[in-house]
């Protein structure tokens, strides 16, 4: 490693770096060019980056600076090391320039370190340069935060903002510099609040939501299941949706159901939370019904058995098959979705009648979301659908893919695994970087629907 810096300023070598810089050692790799300076200024950092680039070019001709994406990460100083590790593990999806702002409210002085690393995939190819800047700041720097950061981002390329520790004041200050913001809707305790905040953000910038990205394989498989032309008609007949999720990932489950509502033109209704599950219904648009099998379907709904039992993830085989038989989806006897405790018996009866009429008309889709405590990674554990009165389809997380289970109208059952490796959390973060360069048109409508579905207090 080399260290550059102006003689007139204090130099902080890596070995004697301040605490947060040492913690963020994960940002550095062997062979990186490094500059660091205590009590520095944005212009000094920016000048150092240029010097590092020239130095790197002189050392190795076949290098080129990557110019794809700036990432501004505003992190708590005590967690800077952890965030640096996460950033290091995003695989090929590193931001071209990372500006990490390490925040300690008591800090008076602004220290910084800039580094350049190069990555050559194959011999003879040009190596791409990635630049990282770590800036240590305190409360007094928040006032002019955007002025500190503005000179440090590469102009004319997209900038992604990430505040994993939820510093709203920093987000507010830095948002004008960014075109996208990286969030994770499952991070907040109140998922309704999380989804509402995300909706507000979508009015200003493109939102890349890791909770949404985690659901991509599920959405792809659901879309794939209905892709055969004759299956598409069955989209009109979906009558129940059941999703199980990590206990902290209700927002992810709501986003998935919100996506179905948005894509299939279902009118979302506020769900209710009771006994650890969230349930309720959405209403189909005029002209959609569940296949004209009203009475039969209504009867079936009462004894509906779709998908794995909430809270218990089955692997495969007999155990799972038995789980499927036992599992229940849709309104539970005695626990009517959408009815709060405060409602009177009369009101409940009246609503039940109304709802029963809708069900018989096939216009309602029963929805149930349940936490699966055996799932140890964020996201979804299973998705199950009932189609009309006689078809069922479910997807369940498993090692190396999703196990799908189908029940045909004639009662024939099939179970198999649809292949796909887990991207794991580091892969999801990398995917978040990549998505900042794209625009997923289906997210916002799904988010808005999810927001309408979200119960008043749900984790």
């Amino acid at each position: 490693m080399s260290a550059l810096g102006r003689p007139s300023r204090e130099r902080a070598d890596v070995g004697e770096a301040p605490e947060a810089i040492a913690a963020a050692e994960g940002l550095l790799e062997e062979g990186d060019s490094v500059w660091s300076e205590a009590d520095t200024t944005p212009s000094a950092i920016e000048a150092a980056l240029r010097e590092l680039l020239v130095e790197r070019h002189a050392q190795q001709g076949s290098v080129a600076p990557a110019r794809a994406l700036n990432l501004i990460a505003f992190v708590d100083e005590q967690w800077a090391g952890e965030i640096a590790n996460r950033m290091r593990n995003v695989g090929p999806y590193h931001a071209s320039r990372l500006v990490m702002l390490s925040y300690n409210p008591d800090r008076q002085r602004m220290d910084a370190r800039a580094s350049i690393s190069s990555h050559q995939r194959k011999r003879g190819e040009i190596a791409l340069l990635r630049e990282s800047v770590l800036v240590e700041i305190g409360e007094e720097h928040l006032r002019d935060l955007h002025k500190i950061v503005d000179p440090l981002v590469v102009r004319d390329i997209p900038t992604l903002l990430w505040s994993p520790h939820h510093h709203e004041e920093a987000v507010e200050a830095l948002l004008p510099l960014a075109q996208s913001i990286l969030i994770d809707s499952i991070d907040e305790r109140d998922c309704r609040q999380a989804l509402s905040s995300a909706v507000k953000l979508t009015e200003e910038v493109c939102v890349v939501d890791l909770a949404w990205l985690r659901s991509a394989p599920w959405r792809e498989r659901l879309a794939g299941a209905f892709q055969p032309p004759l299956m598409r008609e069955d989209l009109l007949s979906i009558s129940e949706v059941h999703v199980t999720h990590h206990p902290d990932s209700a927002a992810a489950a709501l986003l998935l159901v919100g996506w179905l509502c948005a894509r299939l033109r279902w009118q979302p209704q506020r769900l209710a939370e009771a006994a650890g599950a969230i349930s309720g219904f959405a209403t189909k648009a005029d002209g959609q019904d569940s296949g004209g099998q009203g009475d039969e379907r209504s009867q079936d709904l009462k004894r509906s058995q779709v998908g794995p039992r909430p809270g218990k993830r089955a692997g495969a085989g007999h155990e799972r098959s038995q789980d499927l038989e036992r599992s229940q989806v849709g309104p539970r006897p005695g626990k009517r979705a959408g009815a709060g405790h405060e409602r009177s018996q009369d009101l409940e009866r009246s609503q039940d009648l109304e709802r029963s009429q809708e069900i018989e008309g096939g216009r309602q889709v029963a929805i149930e979301l349940a936490a699966d405590r055996s799932l140890n990674v964020p996201g979804l554990a299973s998705v199950a659908l009932r189609i009309g009165s006689d078809r069922r389809m479910s997807f369940e997380r498993a090692d190396g893919g999703l196990i799908t289970h189908r029940v045909d109208p004639n009662g024939q059952e099939r179970t198999w695994k649809i292949l796909g490796a887990s991207r794991q959390e580091r892969g999801i973060l990398g995917e978040g970087m990549r998505q900042a360069l794209l625009r997923d048109r289906s997210y916002r409508p799904a988010l808005q629907a999810a927001c309408q579905l979200a119960p008043r207090r749900a984790r």
């Binding site: 032309p229 004759l230 008609e233 894509r263 190396g400 649809i418």
Partner: protein
């Protein structure tokens, strides 16, 4: 032949916004399943698709090859190939899931019993799946087996899946149709045919006739893996998503186009194939003419398979096919002799193992073609391809006409060169524009400088291998990146007279030292003032 579903089906609303579009349940049958292409490219591509969740929800793989071996041995071979050649370390659960039900059918391709056995395997897989599956037959064999296999598939009824439509072309009543009948209607049979598609125009026509006697053209996917490369697709993005190029993209501003496919390697033990093919058949007839089409085609009305291919065919038809007497003026060939590469001595082509004694097969070919249409009349398109050249590079250089008047002093303007736009396909995929710029200092001296854009610097994604994209496209029935029958015949129509003239002339051929820029004779086909770019 496959019937075409006539009735319009509404779009699946769930696919909106998805990056990966659904692929129908499919059984992929690879003929030549133990060959080099299957091991190095196809199996790793299938694994990577499985890893990313890109395979259909129901997918089966069947290998067909000559050697007798049980299914388990073939699975082990697949596993070894994937572990060795995959671009990523396999996830054990995905790998095991992919291979657990792989089937193997042994036998020679002209033995009808092979197809009867294959039919049994396909039926069994459909029985297990509980529904009919689309079939994709991938011909990764020696070209001489292509018609044999296709015709046997037809005779054995292995291509007859999608014939459940009514007499009026309408689909049967859904409610009345049993589940399997409905799914059978939706399943398809397609065939992927590797290159080379024939070794002459007459062979290509004959092969097309035989293939099309079994499959509908819409079910035939003639593969040219160059078209699956991200950078080749980017050529279309560069031309048709950027307004700045179109006003210049014609004979008024472009002086010449030069397409180079240089390799530093030799024939790598493939003498059996290469000594019969040569550089013209191996690279120019397919890959390089495709690159030319991408550069010269008119903007298609839409990026559907037929619209794109219609425009490419127009370009190929506008290229003047030389008469025998014209070949000498527009084509050169040569063979590499012993030389040095990377500091090591290497042998010449005629000394390579397996090459026929006194072989007149060219390892270097250079052509000057003209596209006789309104846009390109008079603009030479230079194509060259060769082995054992100074380095590996595939690029397209578009040279603009010089400025009409130079106001600078003669000394300062000496180094002014026409602008050159260079599109590099590999390695270092990207675009560079050569501009004239002032050298810093008191005098107005102009020198050329490069403004470079590298694709790798502007996107965070890793490019998938070409075969990953192409296999999925074939399973989905998207033929945009495949060559149509009239396209391949038009390619041969251009190359056939040159091959004939060269075969009649025989050898010996001019030579060039291995590791060099190619033969000096290549300069003889250049128009006055033009020169080859340094390799």
């Amino acid at each position: 032949m496959n019937a075409v579903i006539q009735q319009a089906v509404p779009q699946n609303p769930l696919i909106e916004g998805l990056e990966r579009l659904p692929v129908p349940p499919t059984t992929l049958v690879i003929f030549g399943a133990t060959g080099d292409l299957a091991r190095r490219k196809l199996l790793p591509a299938l694994y990577n698709l499985a890893h990313e969740g890109g395979l259909p929800e129901i997918f089966h793989l069947v290998g067909v090859s000559r050697r007798e071996k049980p299914h388990e041995h073939y699975r082990e071979e697949c596993e070894q190939a994937i572990r060795r050649f995959s671009r990523r370390k396999p996830d054990e659960a995905v790998l095991s899931g992919l291979l657990q039900d792989v089937r193997y059918v042994p036998g020679v391709f002209d033995d009808e019993a092979v197809y009867a056995q294959l039919a049994k395997v396909l039926s069994e897989l459909e029985r297990i799946a509980g529904q009919p599956l689309s079939r994709l037959f991938y011909l990764s064999t020696a070209p001489s087996f292509f018609p044999t296999i296709v015709e046997a598939l037809g005779r054995q009824g292995l291509t007859a899946l999608t014939t459940q439509t009514g007499a009026d072309g309408a689909r049967p009543n859904r409610a009345a149709a049993p589940s399997h009948a409905r799914e059978r209607e939706e399943a398809t049979c397609r065939v992927v045919i590797e290159k080379p598609f024939g070794s002459s125009l007459s062979e290509a026509i004959s092969l097309n006739e035989r293939v099309l006697s079994v499959f509908d053209e819409s079910a035939v996917f003639r593969i040219d893996h160059y078209l699956g490369k991200e950078t080749v697709q980017n050529l279309m993005a560069l031309r048709f998503a950027n307004g700045m190029f179109e006003p210049l993209w014609n004979r008024n501003y472009i002086d010449s186009v030069q397409i180079t496919a240089a390799e530093d390697i030799g024939i790598e033990g493939r003498a059996g194939y290469y000594d019969r093919a040569g550089a013209l058949r191996d690279l120019i007839q397919n890959h390089m003419l495709q690159l030319l089409c991408h550069i010269a085609m008119e903007p298609p009305a839409s990026f559907t398979a037929d619209e794109v291919r219609n425009e490419k065919v127009k370009v190929l038809r506008a290229i003047h096919a030389p008469k025998p007497s014209e070949v000498e003026q527009m084509a050169r060939r040569a063979q590499y002799a012993a030389g040095h590469l990377g500091g090591d001595g290497v042998i010449g082509y005629l000394e390579e193992e397996g090459v026929r004694e006194g072989s007149a097969t060219e390892t270097f070919a250079a052509l000057r073609l003209e596209v006789d249409n309104w846009r390109w009349a008079g603009v030479p398109f230079y194509l060259r391809a060769g082995k054992r050249l100074a380095r590996k590079v595939t690029e397209i250089a578009v040279t603009l006409k010089p400025v009409p008047h130079v106001a600078f002093s003669e000394e300062g303007a000496r180094e002014i060169k026409p602008n050159q736009l260079v599109l590099t396909v590999q390695p270092n995929e990207g675009v560079s524009l050569q501009l004239g710029a002032k050298v810093p200092g008191p005098r107005m001296t102009i020198r050329p400088v490069n403004m470079e854009f590298l694709y790798g610097t502007s996107f965070l994604s890793q490019s998938p291998e070409a075969y990953e994209r192409l296999i999925v496209d074939a399973m989905r029935g998207d033929a945009t990146l495949f060559t149509r029958n009239d396209e391949v015949e038009a390619q041969w129509r251009i190359c056939d007279p040159i091959i004939t003239a060269w075969e009649q002339a025989g050898g010996p051929l001019p030579s060039y030292p291995a590791g060099s820029e190619g033969p000096a004779e290549a300069n003889e086909i250049l128009l006055k003032g033009d020169e080859w770019r340094a390799i």
